[in-house]
Subunit: 132 residues, 2 copies
DNA sequence: CTGTATCCAGGGGGATACTG
DNA sequence: CAGTATCCCCCTGGATACAG
């Protein structure tokens, strides 16, 4: 506790490449989730109804199978989504939000609201900044 | 509207490396903010009071000058923080939240709350998943 | 003190081909 | 259909040195 007051309290579990030390800081965990470029998209895509692998890929639009698989694994590991395999002729796999995953949609909605309300201000700020 | 329903509606402005097309989607903008690994940390560090460059670096703890500068520029460009230069003997620069930046703290707090409430569940899910 | 410039390693992530 | 495996490019971001 000699240094890095804010950093250690909120995020820092290690400089960057060190063993994650599972969950030193809650915020750090959430950030690694939210910052993942595809996670929110997938959670939102699952909000209305469970979806299968290829349905998800279509819904998101421009995600590769590789990234979709990886992100789904991460979300499953974090308990945000469930994965059910149907041993049909061509195998089908359905993903759905867990209660935990669904509970995350609330704060995410808060973020979306803020984004929609202030998007114009941000764009204006950028234009002004760049236009100097 | 032929494909990528969710993706285009929420995020996709380009595969990844293409010109950002300023602000196609609000959520995408917010994500690029939140996902930036240092932005939230800096906003939170500025919540209580304006701070100078080196004070911010100390507060965050493990951020390099390079990344601190870059993140501050991005936040300034987005109108989230202000930058005031004092032409003193050794120059001093003070950063502060703008109204826009301050308004972002609310949804961020929602995220923090969710994180604190469900951190245990996430850790448990991970342990269970890994322990298989 | 507050940056900017350069160098460079590591990893994120796309494309493609293959498997069960 | 639902992945896995491989290749590989490029960007992120740390370290260091330099400038105003």
């Amino acid at each position: 506790m000699t240094k890095a007051p804010l950093g250690n309290l909120l995020f820092a579990d290690a400089p960057m490449g060190a063993p994650p030390a599972p969950g030193l800081c809650p915020i750090r965990d959430v950030l690694s989730l939210v910052g993942q470029k595809w996670t929110l998209l997938i959670l939102i895509a699952l909000e209305a109804e469970p979806r299968r692998f290829s349905a998800l890929q279509r819904a998101v639009g421009d995600i590769s199978k590789r990234m979709l698989t990886q992100t789904l694994r991460d979300l499953e590991r974090d308990g945000m989504i469930s994965r059910e395999v149907f041993p049909t002729k061509p195998p089908a796999v359905e993903y759905a939000l867990t209660d935990l995953g669904r509970s995350a949609l609330a704060p995410i909605a808060g973020l979306k609201d803020w984004a929609n309300r202030h998007h114009g201000a941000i764009k204006a700020a950028r234009t002004a900044f760049d236009g100097v």
